[in-house]
């Protein structure tokens, strides 16, 4: 007779959990630990020296600044796009829905060269803007545009499901109580959507700060002006300044981890709050 070995009802726990942990250890944990250990061997003074150097500060400022700008733009336009996709019917809606996913499916390098060609002074849009004195390619503005491209699906796909699941009866109740459309939107819908909007914003930020492939073509890469942090890491690597590269990487990692943590925690708390 079969004697039960584990307290789990369904079989396969040891095997699957074992493999999962092993894989995670090998592919994720050890490499990241390697970075952490290397970062700690740099020594605090050298770390601060690197981090506070003008060039590094400029690159971090650029990366974070442009990402913030792009994420904000995406929140507004992403909300509009999500709204339009969920609430209205119009011809070609399917195509529009697929378009939103393009930045997700398209390789970053392809997006990079395409957007650069588009906004360069001879490009389709760039040529139109340059008589107006607006230069997009090789400027921080161009970086912002590209980061908006990259972050769009993250915002839209965060908001869309929440909007879809929204109970129509709540809005109907608001209408019956006398609220007009604007009030209903601001007071009833928007508060419900805020967590999803914030999640989309955070995801877009996190993605944008680390983005390399699409940005490196449009940014021009002038040190101190249009050099993004990821590029600086590569430059330092090519100069065999492992310590410098590690320092910047550690800062970026800390940032992305804290964003990931805050998203997960806020979702966790919200779920607990709703359960009560």
């Amino acid at each position: 007779m079969f004697k039960r070995k584990s307290k789990h009802v369904l079989p396969g726990f040891k095997t699957t959990m074992g493999f999962t942990l092993f894989y995670l250890l090998l592919i994720v944990i050890v490499p990241l630990l390697g970075l952490g250990i290397k970062a700690s061997t740099i020594g605090w003074t050298k770390f601060c020296e690197t981090a506070i150097s003008h060039r590094v500060m400029a690159s971090l400022r650029l990366s974070f600044g442009a990402s913030l700008m792009a994420a904000t733009i995406n929140v507004f336009f992403g909300l509009v796009v999500a709204w339009v996709l969920v609430r209205y019917r119009f011809p070609g809606k399917r195509i529009v829905d697929a378009l939103v996913d393009i930045p997700f499916a398209l390789p970053t390098a392809v997006a990079g060269i395409a957007l650069t060609a588009l906004y360069s002074s001879k490009g389709w849009i760039g040529a139109w803007l340059s008589p107006l004195g607006i230069k997009v390619a090789y400027t921080p503005l161009g970086i912002t545009v590209v980061l908006s491209f990259v972050g769009l699906p993250l915002v839209v796909r965060s908001i869309q499901p929440v909007l879809q699941e929204f109970d129509p009866e709540v809005e109907e109740a608001a209408a019956l109580l006398g609220a007009h459309r604007g009030q209903s939107f601001l007071r009833v819908l928007l508060p419900e959507l805020t967590p999803a909007i914030l999640t989309g914003f955070a995801l877009s930020m996190a993605r944008a700060v680390g983005e390399y492939g699409s940005v490196v073509f449009i940014s021009g890469n002038l040190p101190m002006r249009t050099e993004i942090a990821p590029l600086l890491i590569i430059t330092k690597l090519e100069q065999y300044d492992y310590a410098g590269a590690t320092a910047i990487a550690a800062i970026m990692l800390l940032f992305s981890f804290s964003i990931l943590l805050s998203i997960n925690l806020s979702q966790h708390w919200r779920r607990r709050a709703l359960a009560h």
Partner: protein, 301 residues
């Protein structure tokens, strides 16, 4: 209870089919918002896409073709296909194992495990490459040992495989876990009372229920693996003909001002992106149909 359920369904169903029943937005609002959305998407997404193909054909079809069958390009294609196949296969097994262990069992630290699995998703691609250079590069932990044994990892395909696998590892698990959590364990538990073994349960009960989500996860994982640029850029060394993947090859062509050739090769990836989205739409319409049938019949009880 059943009466309430029917009302809920008809309300949501009505809204889905006819738009807002009570609160319909005025026409100017609707038109305005749709316009804004369309213009934004047109400028930001549609134009660059079109540009890829127009620029690819800028020097004519012959030039397009020769850019693609150029030996360096073919090498890049071969390497990319190999790396994607390998990393997606590895991540498929990992994703299935992780999803099974997380959703069918009860244990502490589940949240931590899920966060760990999600981790690569939040790491910058360049950093993803850097960590493997720190491990296996000439000055890395294992560097001297590898050099002594004449094993090349960095600046060769193993590092590209490792970096790509790292970057794409969350995709399958992230797609499967919410679905399997929503599906619950009832069917699996029923199967075990009926005498099925672990493998039989997975094959006959679980797998058919996650089939489509798995397809979607695989094509997404594949799309990302093929297009990965930052991480691969760091570890590959850009050795033409040997360690260039398609994106790296595109970059090289672009930097050499062979822009038409660069866009020609890039168009391959763009076409692949279309195929990915096409499959996604197919999968979604299939699952949406099933969910609709489910909901309709449930309301008949």
């Amino acid at each position: 209870m059943n009466a309430v359920a029917t009302t809920e369904l008809s309300n949501k169903a009505l809204t889905a089919r006819f738009g807002r029943v009570v609160q319909r937005d005025p026409l100017w609002v609707r038109a305005g918002l749709i316009c804004i959305a369309l213009v934004y998407l047109f400028v930001l997404v549609f134009l660059p896409l079109v540009l890829v193909f127009v620029a690819a054909m800028a020097k004519g079809v012959a030039a397009y073709w020769s850019a693609i069958v150029d030996p360096a390009a073919l090498d890049a294609i071969k390497l990319t296909l190999f790396i994607s196949f390998a990393s997606v296969s590895l991540n498929l097994i990992f994703g299935l194992a992780a999803a099974w262990s997380i959703t069918k069992f009860h244990f502490r630290g589940k949240g931590l495990l899920i966060t760990l699995i999600d981790l690569p998703f939040s790491v910058s691609p360049v950093v993803s490459g850097l960590i493997f250079v720190l491990l296996f590069g000439a000055q890395g932990w294992f560097g001297p040992w590898l050099y002594a044994h004449d094993i090349k990892i960095v600046f060769a395909w193993p590092a590209i495989l490792l970096a790509t696998t790292f970057v794409t590892s969350p995709f399958v698990a992230r797609e499967l876990i919410p679905l399997m959590q929503a599906q619950g364990c009832d069917e699996e538990q029923a199967a075990i009372t009926l005498g099925a073994s672990g493998w039989q349960i997975f094959r006959h009960v679980t797998f058919p229920n996650i089939r489509w989500a798995l397809v979607y996860a695989l094509i997404l994982c594949n799309a990302r693996a093929m297009g990965e640029f930052g991480a691969v850029s760091v570890v590959s060394g850009h050795i033409r003909g040997q360690t260039n993947t398609i994106p790296l090859h595109v970059e090289e062509l672009y930097n050499e001002y062979s822009s038409a050739a660069a866009f020609s090769v890039a168009s391959l990836l763009a076409l692949f992106a279309f195929a990915t989205l096409g499959i996604k739409i197919l999968v979604e319409s299939h699952t949406a149909r099933n969910t609709r049938i489910d909901n309709t019949f449930r309301s008949l009880e």
